[in-house]
Amino acid sequence: MVTTAAANAGVATGNGEQPLVRLDGIRRHFPVFRGNVLRRRTGTVKAVDGISINIMPGETYSLVGESGCGKTTTSRMLLMADQPTEGNIYFDDRPMNQFSGAERRNFKASVQAVFQDPWSSLNPRMRVDQIVSEPLITHQRLSRSAVRAQVQELLQVVGLHPFHAERYPHEFSGGQRQRIAIARALSTRPKLIVLDEPVSALDVSIRAQILNLLKELQSTYELSYLLIAHNLATVRYMSHMVGVMYLGKIVEEAPPIELFTNAQHPYTRALISASLPAHPRRQREEIVLSGEVPSPLNPPTGCAFHPRCPFVMERCSVDTPILVEYASGHATACHLYDGDANTC
């Protein structure tokens, strides 16, 4: 039996490389108050509750799970838009809470984001060249002509024309806007880009273009991605490692092919069974979960998934399962697989 940290360390050292970013036991708890004058703390929302992941250089780590499972809170902490209540984030093996001012700036330049909705993530009053160059100007001291040259280059890299620089976002289609957002993210030469549902707001015929562009950029610039997506097929196409989240915890982690052909955790299996088929003759075996995701304000005891789990056992409501390595690189947090369960 291997614990979380060890399992992750095993994954990390598997190819002898150091992870670019390491999340170590991250928790983010939000206090819940009641009353205005006599404010009392009445509870805690455990949005992220102890997750540890390694993002390797040049690879994509994907987080999947339903809304409210803590994917976005995790990414916000990675973007320094929020701070973990507990645990630490290591960047190039330096803990984030000990960053010097220079390290902080360097980190912020090295981690960029592309968001879901390119209609609201681009300022309609800024021209494309202003949008793309804003992070450049913030993070680097460059002459005006150097900025201009960089903007032109970035636009070409993402498949736009240099003359697009003088236009405004409303003159572009969704796919082109997402290209602008990608150009902006690339401008500071980041090492990691957080992709929060990068294609789900786009037209179907455009999605493949953007996914392919992201893949090309990854191999050209050795970028790491943290991909947040709910479409499992997209995740399979893009990822090197996938973490399945449920109520703030990672319940299963594996490389995509292993995960989608050999899923162990009942929640992962239900998620896969709920994804839509690619052909009418390939219907999936359906695992219908009863109920819905419980409120994180009042999560179930033991395994958070047990009230919906079709394989629930007695100990599931008492013991919280921990992530244990099931096969090489494949870890799952379920009592069905943690050795001392004699059920299967």
Partner: protein, 321 residues
């Protein structure tokens, strides 16, 4: 057999008369729907799929107008109906299923009130018997302890329950045709599956036909019997669902199916479709897909006719000639 056809749309044209010109949102489409059948209308934004739905419901927004064709519903042309008659048909015969089933209930009325309200439109009966009908409806959508649930407000129910209540309301007046416009885009995968199963369930019970307006071929593969692919206001290909996935005849369908990643197979690079969907006020002459089409040739300067490539399978592409 012809009695079985409940909806027949012929050469429907819905155009928008804007200051900058005429936008042909729907430009001559044909399809028909049998009782109990499920049709998927697939397309991207701006392809005219939602406007097709609004046209059938007689609710084309200003400055749009239906300028040609016919919509035959149970042998009557809906385009000749008055506003009042259309209002009656909506809800009783043809019913729209809400985009977001979780927020379409009124929070200040009980579930029972909302069900009885829609039942009262259909049945002229005392409140008590309407109440019994409401209980029956809730049982039909598998809500346990239906009688106790009538006095619940929507916020007292879970999301899945509310979904079922919305489903119950949409079948309260025994519709013949349900139109679901992107019914599951905002839902999580497991909730989406529950919802699709509910719709199938409703269909099995009532024998209603369903039109799914969607951009997702997965929903088509999961739910539909027939599928029509729309591009720039026209149906470019239409066939049985299996035939479409096995032998897509139109280059657009073919490319679209290939460009969607698949959970069961691995690819290094997805084939992608170049370019953007055309803007409807500046359509190219001839085939509107030609600028993005890898097979475009001379002939594509004229808009392709409809060719039958297999029984029940038509494609608007010169390659099928």
């Amino acid at each position: 057999m012809t009695d079985d056809v409940i909806l027949k749309v012929q050469d429907l044209q819905t155009h928008f008369f804007t200051r900058t010109g005429v936008v042909k949102a729907v430009d001559g489409i044909n399809f028909e729907l049998k009782r109990g059948e499920t049709l998927g209308i697939v397309g991207e934004s701006g392809s005219g799929k939602s406007m097709t739905a609004w046209s059938i419901l007689g609710m084309v927004p200003h400055p749009g107008r239906i300028i040609g064709g016919s919509i035959n519903y149970l042998g009557e042309n809906l385009l000749e109906k008055s506003r009042g008659e259309m209002r009656d048909i909506r809800g009783s015969g043809i019913c729209m299923v809400m985009q977001d089933p979780l927020t379409s209930l009124n929070p200040v009325f009980t579930v029972g009130d909302q069900l009885v309200e829609s039942l009262r439109l259909e049945y002229n009966e005392p409140r008590r018997s309407l109440r019994d009908r409401a209980i029956k409806l809730l049982e039909n959508v598998r809500i346990p302890a239906a009688e106790d649930r009538l006095t619940n407000f929507p916020h007292q129910m879970s999301g899945g329950m509310r979904q079922r209540v919305v489903g119950a309301i949409s079948i309260a007046r025994a519709p013949n045709l349900l139109i679901a416009d992107e019914p599951t885009t905002s839902l999580d995968a497991t909730i989406q599956l529950q919802y699709l199963r509910l719709l199938k369930d409703i269909q099995d019970q009532t024998g209603a036909a369903i039109i799914f307006i969607t951009h997702d071929f997965g929903i088509v593969a999961r739910m539909c019997d027939r599928v029509a692919v729309m591009y720039a206001g026209r149906i470019v290909e239409q066939s049985d669902v299996e035939d479409m996935f096995d032998r897509p005849a139109h280059p657009y369908t073919e490319a679209l199916l290939e460009s969607v990643p698949d959970l069961d197979t691995d690819v290094d690079m997805l084939p992608s479709i170049e370019g953007q969907p055309p803007s409807l006020d500046a359509l190219p002459d001839g085939c509107s897909f030609a600028p993005r089409c890898p097979h475009a040739w001379e002939r594509c300067k004229d808009y392709p006719l409809e060719f039958t490539v297999a029984p029940g399978h038509v494609s608007r592409c010169w390659r099928a000639e």
